[in-house]
């Protein structure tokens, strides 16, 4: 789908990206994370063919995007972290202009404009001036502009920055919907909390280097595990034996409870719960614990530090 090969980018006095390589899986949402100044925006701009790297290349379905950037842009949507809108135009005019600018055939424009407006919940504000929209609605309009031409890849730089919790929730739902409709998204942020709800993959940059790229827990085949917290009404030393007999990866087992990793999926969890109950253990709680993105980030950064 989209591959980045040995990408390096320099600013005067510093290297912003150093030999970054990775491949983005189709129909995934990759959280591009890292501290401020890690190179996230530079990487996104290189991937959008808005900045030319000093070395390396970005391939979109095998084609170097810097060779024919205008062609690549037809398959891409990009939202800059400091985006602006044509404030004097109405929402409808903004979207119509974007459709024409993206080379959408005249006959298909009206349908795409309507679809984009509905996707972001702006269908009832088409006659409103863009300059009169609230920050959250401006963000929605900007996303609508970025996805209007049905790009296969969408690059979003800090899309939730400055949004209130409700708007963030609605953004998460929108991104998941776009993914379900077949788009591949890369979303940067330095606030991990806002990425956990929708990310399937995580790409960590630090000081311009790729520290980690891989699926967030539960996404990769073969590693599809979730953490389950088991609590007993009263301590029972047999818990460890039963778990060992089931071949469950125990993270932390005590007589009054345990935190274990089990294959993701309702059937596996149901089987484990049935076995615990059949063994006569006084199970009082059995909770799936979604792995926190921040935990994953910190653990990967630590791994990177240890390796370094």
């Amino acid at each position: 789908m989209l591959s980045v090969e040995h990408l390096s980018y320099d600013y005067p006095g510093t290297r912003a990206l150093q030999d970054v390589s990775f491949t983005v899986a189709p129909q995934s949402i990759t959280a591009l994370v890292g501290p401020n100044g890690a190179g996230k925006t530079t990487l996104l701009r290189c991937m959008a063919a808005l900045a030319e790297p000093i070395a390396g290349r970005v391939l979109l379905e095998g084609q170097d995007i810097h060779e024919e950037p205008r062609e690549s842009h037809k398959a891409m949507g990009y939202l800059s972290d400091f985006f602006g809108l044509y404030d004097e135009l109405t929402v409808l005019q903004c979207l119509r202009h974007q459709a024409a600018a993206q080379g959408v055939a005249a006959g298909a424009r009206a349908e795409l404009v309507e679809r984009a407006a509905q996707r972001v919940g702006l269908a009832d504000r088409l006659r409103q001036r863009a300059g009169a929209l609230s920050r959250g609605l401006r963000q929605r309009l900007a996303i609508a502009q970025a996805i209007l031409h049905e790009p296969r890849i969408v690059l979003l730089d800090e899309p939730a920055s400055g949004l209130d919790p409700e708007a963030r929730q609605s953004l998460s739902e929108l991104l998941l919907k776009l993914r379900a409709e077949g788009m591949t998204l890369i979303v940067s942020s330095h606030i991990l909390a806002e990425l956990r709800d929708y990310s399937s993959h995580m790409l960590i940059l630090r000081d311009g280097r790729l520290v980690h790229h891989g699926p967030v827990s539960g996404e990769a085949e073969g590693e599809a595990q979730v953490a389950v917290v088991i609590e007993l009404a009263e301590a029972d030393p047999r818990l460890a034996e039963v778990l060992a007999a089931e071949g469950v990866d125990s993270v932390n087992v005590k007589s009054e409870g345990a935190r274990v990793l089990v294959p993701d999926g309702a059937a596996a969890r149901q089987a484990l719960l049935r076995r615990l109950v059949e063994a006569g253990l006084p199970v009082s709680a059995f909770n799936v614990e979604r792995r926190d993105l921040q935990d994953a980030y910190l653990s990967q950064v630590k791994k990177g530090d240890d390796a370094g």
Binding site: K74, F83, G84, E88, L89, H97, Q98, A101
Partner: protein
């Protein structure tokens, strides 16, 4: 026919109903007052054409200069760069879209001027007025837009001068085109006639039409090429060097410059001296107008190391190409000077020596000083932000070419100014310029009364300073590379 989306966006923004009513209403009121005051003479046509020029040049160049800058400032330019709008569509969409409102008003003014001319019974002036008006208007706006794009490439979007300076350049180009065009096509003043271009007798009016059209074409090509660069379209840097060759070649053929050598032997060196002088001026312009991005230079160095010729060719900086052109012009001039007959050298002197030798030394020395000045500009650009570096370089160059020579003159050391600047040296410019005719017109054997060592001083001054700058540049370049490499080491890469 598909509508240019960028042009249509401007139609939405610029041509609101209120503005469409206000502009004709205001103009009608003004023209009515003028016509009322002087109903019979040609005042209305002159006034209307003047109003056209004010709208199109004064206001239009402002709008053209801010067309892209305002988008960069508002954060909308990235949308445009990510769109599928091609560079040509964007060029004319911006050029005619951003100025569509002033063209709306300007065309009303032009129509009034033409109507007034018809009423006066001078319809023969109409074609020239329309041609000059339209061409100078588009030319001025295109130059403004192109200059603003050049400044943007140097990262100056947040500065006020990023609009004011391109507007000034556009006004200058458009005003000059209107003035020269009207003068050349002035039928009443006997504008029709012949002029010599490279010795060819050409119809003056036709020459003016061809010249204005050519410059208009170059200005639009300039916008197109810069728009290509903005939209990340890969290109090779041929357009600006081609324009330098065109401009210098165009000027060298004009009778005001190359065609008046007193001695027939000096016709060729005279033209070549003008070519060299033109290349020098345009090389200096290139050093300040175009970007001197050290990162691009690093990319070029890496591409050369890897043997990636297409990338290296693409990254060739304009300052290098302009300097090479000046070097070639210097070589040609030296060859022409050396080829002058010995008898000529024996009869004509400059600085008390054979004119041919003096000329050769000065030409090489002057080219050396061009390289020194380039070295200063590059050295400062390797240190910091481009616009500030350029401003600092300009101050240094002014000091070297004006302040220090002035000081030396005051101290009675005028013969040594050639050590710091060839241009400030008395008699250097006449020798280097098309005014070779001036030297040749001196009585045979009459020497320009100056120190014989001066041409040598110019050469020695140039060579020593170029060597020093070269050492400083290499040191700075190594440090610049080391800074990036050490940032990697620091990060543990």
């Amino acid at each position: 026919m598909p509508v240019n989306p960028e042009f249509r966006r401007y139609l939405w923004l610029e041509l609101s109903l209120q503005r469409m009513i206000a502009m004709p209403a205001v103009l009608a009121a003004v023209f009515f007052l003028v016509a009322l005051g002087d109903p019979d003479s040609g005042a209305l046509s002159d006034f209307a054409f003047g109003a056209f020029l004010i709208l199109i040049l004064l206001w239009g160049t402002r709008l053209a200069a801010s067309a892209v800058v305002s988008e960069v400032r508002a954060g909308t330019w990235d949308w445009q760069r990510m769109s599928a709008i091609g560079p040509w569509q964007m060029t004319w969409g911006k050029l005619f879209g951003s100025t569509v409102f002033v063209w709306f008003g300007g065309l009303i003014c032009l129509a009034v001027a033409l109507f007034s001319l018809l009423r006066q019974g001078t319809p023969q002036e109409i074609p020239s007025l329309v041609f000059v008006g339209l061409v100078s208007g588009v030319l001025g706006q295109a130059v403004s837009l192109a200059a603003s794009l050049l400044w943007l490439r140097q990262g100056a979007a947040d500065r006020r001068a990023v609009i004011a300076t391109p507007q000034f350049l556009g006004l200058l180009a458009g005003g000059l085109a209107a003035y020269e065009g009207l003068a050349a096509l002035d039928l009443e003043a006997g504008g029709l006639g012949l002029l010599q271009w490279y010795g060819l007798p050409l119809d003056r009016a036709l020459f003016a039409v061809a010249s204005l059209s050519a410059f208009l074409g170059w200005s639009i090509l300039g916008v197109y090429r810069l728009m290509q660069a903005e939209l990340q379209v890969r290109q090779r840097p041929w357009a600006w060097p081609a324009f330098i060759v065109f401009l210098v070649g165009y000027c060298a053929g004009l009778p005001e410059f190359g065609g008046r050598a007193a001695a027939p032997e000096l016709l060729e060196p005279g033209r070549l001296s003008l070519v060299f002088g033109g290349c020098l001026v345009l090389a200096y312009a290139t050093y300040f107008l175009f970007e001197k991005d050290p990162i691009a230079l690093r990319g070029l160095s890496l591409a050369l190391k890897r043997g990636d010729r297409p990338r290296a060719l693409r990254l060739l900086p304009q300052w290098l190409l302009a300097s090479v052109l000046a070097g070639l012009a210097a070589l040609a001039l030296v060859a022409a000077l050396v080829a002058l007959p010995e008898a000529f050298g024996a009869r004509h002197f400059a600085f008390g020596m054979d004119f041919r030798l003096a000329g050769t030394l000065l030409v090489i020395g002057t080219f050396g000083f061009l390289l020194r000045d380039l070295g200063i500009v590059l050295l400062l650009n390797l240190r910091g932000r481009s616009r500030r570096a350029d401003a600092a370089a300009l101050v240094y160059l002014l000091a070297l070419h004006l302040l220090i020579p002035g000081l030396l003159q005051t101290l009675g050391l005028g013969n040594y100014v050639g050590l710091v600047s060839p241009y400030a040296q008395a008699f250097t410019l006449p020798v280097l310029s098309a005014s070779l005719a001036f030297v040749s017109s001196l009585a045979p054997g009459v020497s320009i009364p100056a120190l014989e060592a001066i041409p040598w001083l110019v050469l020695i001054g140039a060579l020593s300073q170029v060597s020093l700058l070269l050492v400083l540049l290499l040191r700075r370049w190594r440090r610049f590379q080391a800074e990036i490499d050490s940032s990697l080491a620091h990060e543990g890469v």
